[in-house]
C-alpha cells in the first residue's frame, strides 16, 4: 500500500466512479472476470506488473467466493503439508477441505488489507514465495499466540549511541517502533459537528463505505437527538424517535463524512478504494453539508480546498 496513491492519477474515469459504491463493485466484477479490459491495460498507473490489484480488493459476496478459491492455491496447498505427520489431517473427510480454504479466506479478512496486498503479489511471483516457505505450513491467524505488541522485537534492540539519534526534540524515533503487520484493530477518532465528545470506530469491523456510514449513523444518532433536545434523558429515548443520519457519502444528506489522511489532507470519504482508505485515514469528521466548501479543481481530485485542522 505504501507509495500507492490513486489520488495522483488524474484520470477522468475515476470521477465517474465517485461516489457510488455500486459502481465500484460493477466495475470490479467486470475486471476480475478474467483479466483486464484493453482500456485498463493502456492506462498509465502505478502497480505491480500484470494487473491492477486494487480493484480486486473490494469485498462483496461474489468477490469473497473468488478469494477463497482463486487467490489462495498456495495457501491451501501449504496448509495441508506439514512437517510432522498429523493423524487427523490424513483422516480428514472431503468436507474438511472446504473448511481449510475458507479458513484461508477468513485469514484474509481478519488480517486486513496488508495481507491481501501480499497474496496477489505472491500469485504473480510464485517461485520466490514457495522458496520462502520452505517446508513450513502457511501461517495461521493467531499462532503462535503472541499479542501484537510483543511482536517484531528483533528490530527493537538499539545499541545506538546518543550521537546517532535523529530527532531534535526529545521524541521517539519512529523507525524503531515495532512494525505491526496485522493489527487486530484500526481505531480512528471520529468527531461530529455539534457533538462535543468524539467517538472511536474500529475500521477493521467494516469492509465497505456503506457499512461505515451505517455505523456512523448509529453512533451519532442518539447523541444528536440528545444534543438537540436537552430536556430529554438520553437513556430513556426509544431508538425509533431518533432521526436517521443518511446521505453521508453522496452529499445528499444534512451531514457529510470527510476524513484527514496521513498527508494531512482533508478528503471526502468514498473517493478511494476501501482498503486504501483504511490504511491512510487518520481521523474522520462528520460535517454539516452546508458548510462544505465547493470541491476545488486542483491537482488532487476530491481534496477539499479548505485548509485547517479537523
Amino acid at each position: 500500500m505504501e507509495g500507492y496513491s490513486r489520488k495522483d492519477v488524474g484520470c477522468p474515469q475515476l470521477l465517474d466512479l465517485i461516489p457510488k459504491e455500486k459502481e465500484w463493485l460493477v466495475k470490479s466484477a467486470e475486471e476480475t472476470n478474467h483479466g483486464l479490459s484493453e482500456e485498463k491495460k493502456l492506462e498509465l498507473r502505478l502497480g505491480p506488473p500484470g494487473g491492477d490489484w486494487t480493484f480486486k480488493q473490494i469485498n462483496g459476496p461474489k468477490n469473497e467466493s473468488l478469494l477463497s478459491f482463486g487467490f489462495f492455491p498456495n495457501t491451501t496447498a501449504g496448509a495441508t503439508t506439514t512437517s510432522a505427520p498429523t493423524p487427523w489431517q490424513h483422516q480428514a473427510k472431503a468436507s474438511f477441505f472446504p473448511l481449510m480454504e475458507k479458513k484461508s479466506c477468513r485469514t484474509v479478512e481478519l488480517q486486513g488489507a496488508e495481507k491481501k496486498a501480499f497474496s496477489p503479489a505472491n500469485k504473480a511471483v510464485p517461485n520466490s514465495s514457495n522458496a520462502q516457505k520452505r517446508t513450513a505450513p502457511a501461517p495461521v491467524v493467531g499462532w503462535p499466540p503472541i499479542r501484537s505488541f510483543r511482536k517484531n522485537l528483533a528490530n527493537g534492540n538499539s545499541s545506538k549511541l546518543s550521537s546517532e539519534s535523529q530527532s531534535v526534540v526529545p521524541d521517539k524515533d519512529f523507525s524503531k517502533k515495532p512494525i505491526e503487520n496485522c493489527p487486530k484493530s484500526r481505531f480512528v477518532k471520529i468527531n461530529m459537528d455539534g457533538v462535543p465528545i468524539g467517538r472511536k470506530v474500529d475500521l477493521k469491523a467494516f469492509n465497505s463505505y456503506e457499512k461505515l456510514s451505517s455505523a456512523v449513523d448509529e453512533l451519532f444518532r442518539g447523541l444528536l437527538a440528545a444534543q438537540s433536545d436537552s430536556s430529554t434523558n438520553g437513556i430513556e429515548n426509544e431508538l425509533e424517535e431518533e432521526k436517521v443520519i443518511s446521505g453521508l457519502l453522496n452529499g445528499s444528506g444534512e451531514y457529510t463524512l470527510v476524513y484527514e489522511d496521513n498527508e494531512g489532507d482533508r478528503m471526502l470519504v468514498g473517493d478511494v478504494p476501501w482498503d486504501m482508505f483504511v490504511s491512510t485515514v487518520k481521523r474522520l469528521r462528520v460535517l454539516k453539508s452546508s458548510e462544505l466548501p465547493m470541491l476545488s479543481c486542483g491537482s488532487k481530485p476530491g481534496k477539499l480546498s479548505l485548509d485547517g485542522s479537523i
Partner: protein, 640 residues
Amino acid sequence: MSEDEELPDLVGGSTRSSNSTAVSGGGDQNYVSPSPDQVLENVIENVLYFLTSRHDRNAASLVCKSWYHAEALTRSELFIGNCYSVSPCRVTNRFKLIKAIAIKGKPRFSDFSLLPPDWGAHFAPWLRAMAVSYRALEKVYLKRMCVSDEDLAIAAHSFPILKELVLVCCEGFGTDGLAIVARECRHIRVLELVDSDITDDEVDWISCFPDDVTCLESLIFDCVESPINFEALERLVARSPSLKKLRLNSYISIRQLYCLMIRAPQLTHLGTGSFSTLEIVAQGEQEPDYISAFAACKSLICLSGFKDINPEYLSAIYPVCGNLTSLNLSYANISAEQLKPVICQCHKLQTFWALDSVSDEGLQAVSAACKDLRELRVFPVEALEDAEGPVSEVGLLAISEGCRKLQSILYFCQRMTNAAVVAMSKNCPDLVVFRLCIMGRHRPDHVTGEPMDEGFGAIVKNCKKLTRLAVSGLLTDRAFNYIGQYGKLLRTLSVAFAGNTDLGLKYLLEGCPKLLKLEIRDSPFGDSALFAGLHHYYNMRFMWLSSCKVTRHGCEEVARQLPGLVVEVIALNEEDKETNEYVDTMYLYRSLDRPRADAPRMMVRPPLIVGKALYKYKAGLPLAGLKISRSPCGSMYLSS
C-alpha cells in the same frame, strides 16, 4: 426451643407450664423479643462484614433467603467473570453497596485476532446501570472490555470518589479519555493502563492532572503509544509524594528517566520506558549518573520497561538487583552474556520475564542465581513457526533443577522433549500454572520423535496443585486421557492443534470436575464430544472451540438442551443454511439473562447467537420483526 423459659415473669401469677408448647413472646406486653429473622440478620451482618472472599460470600448467600438478602446488602466488592453472564440490571437490583467492581469481557483468544473486531464486551451498559446505583464506586477494574472516551467521561462524572481505575487489554478509547480522567477524578490514586490499545488523540493528558498535590500512588502507562509532555510529567511526579508505582512508556528516554527517579526515590515499582537515549545530545555532554539514581531507590522491588534498551546502560540497575523480587526484561533483546552480570545478583527474584534471546545459557544463569523463583515467562523474539529458536529443553531442564519453588511458567520454544517436561514435573511439585508453547504445530519430541503425551501426562500427574495448563506440540488422545484422569483441580485449559478424535475432548469434559475455562482451537473435536459436556457446561464460565469439527446442528442442539447457556456461533458462510457445515467458532457461556443484543450487525460476519428461544439475525440487516428496547437501567434487549 421456647423463648418463654428465659423471659423474666414480669406479670406474675400467670399459670404457665414451662413444659407446654410456649407461645413466643407470651406473658409480657412490654418486652418484644426480636424475631428469629432479625437476630439472624444482625449476626450475619456483623459476621458477613468480615467475609471478603467472594467464594465464601457466594456460599453464605445460598444458605437461605435471609442470608441471601443480608449478604447482598453487605457485599462491597463484585467480580463479574464474563460481562454477558448476567445483565447489569440484575446486578444492581441485588447488590446495593458496591464499592469495587471487576468485569471481564472478551475471551482470551481475542488477543490473537480470533474474534471479529467490534464483537462486543462494551462497558457502556454496565456504566449506565452503575452510574445510577453505585455512585460511591471507588474501584473499577476492566479486562478485555471496549471502553470509549465517552464512557470515561461518564465514569468521571458519575463516580465522584473514584480512586482506582485499572484497564487491562482494553480498547476503544484514547488520550482524550485519559485527559478527562486526569482532570475530573480528583481522588484518583491508581491509574493503570496495561496492554491496552489506546489511540493517540494528540492530547497532553499528563497536563490535565490538577495543579495541587495529588494522591497518586500508581501511574502505569507503558502501553500508551504516544508522546508525553515530559516537563508536565516531571512536575506531576514532583507533586505526588505518595507515588509508589510508575511505569513509563517508550517515549521516555533514559535521561528523562533519570530526572524522574531522582524526584521519586520512594518508588517500589518502576517501568523504565525506552531505557535508551532518544534525543540528540551535544558532543561531550556528561551522561547523568544513572547508577546513583538507582542506588537512591532503596525500596525498588519491581523493575520493568526496557522497551528499546541500549544494553550498555543495563549495568545501571546493579544497585537494585539484590532487592528485586520482580524483573521484566521481556522487551529487551539481550544475549546471555548481557544478562548474566545482572541476573547473578538477583538473589531474591521471584518473578522473571525475558525474551528467548537470552538462550538456554541465560536460563542456566537464572537457574543458578534465582533460587526463590516462583514465576518465569520466556517470550520469543521471533514469533514464527520455523525460526531457529535459542531456547529448548535444555533451558527448561536447567530451570527445573535450580528453581524448585517454581509455581508458574510460560515458555515459548521451537523444540522440546518429554524428558525435560517430566523432569520439571518432578522437580517442581508446586507448579500451579504450566503453559508450554512449542511454536511449530504438531511438533513431536525432537529427540525421540514421540508425541508430547508423556510429558504433559507427567505434569498433571505429579503437580498436584495444578490449576492452569496450556498444551502444545504433537499430542494424541492419550494426552487428554491423562489430563482427564489426573487433572482434578484443573480450572483453565488451553489447547491448540492437538488430539485425534472426539475422545480427546470427552476425556476432558468427563474427567475434570473443576474445569471452568476451556479454549480449544484447530483440533478435531466434533459434535459427539460437544454433547459429552452437557452435564458440566453450567459449571463453566465458558468454552471456546474454533476451527474444530462442531457443526451448527451440534451447537443448536446444545443450546436447545441447556437453556441456561448462550451459544455464539461464527459461521463462515451466513447464506448457507446447511446445518452440517462446520462452524468456524463456537463460544458458549452460562447466562442468567437473555442473549445479548449488542452483537455487531455492521461487520462482515457477525456472530450468530443461538440459545434461549433461538434469537437470530441476519448479517447486515436490522432485526426484522423484533424491537430493540432499553430497560430502565439502560441495557438493551429484544422483544417481539
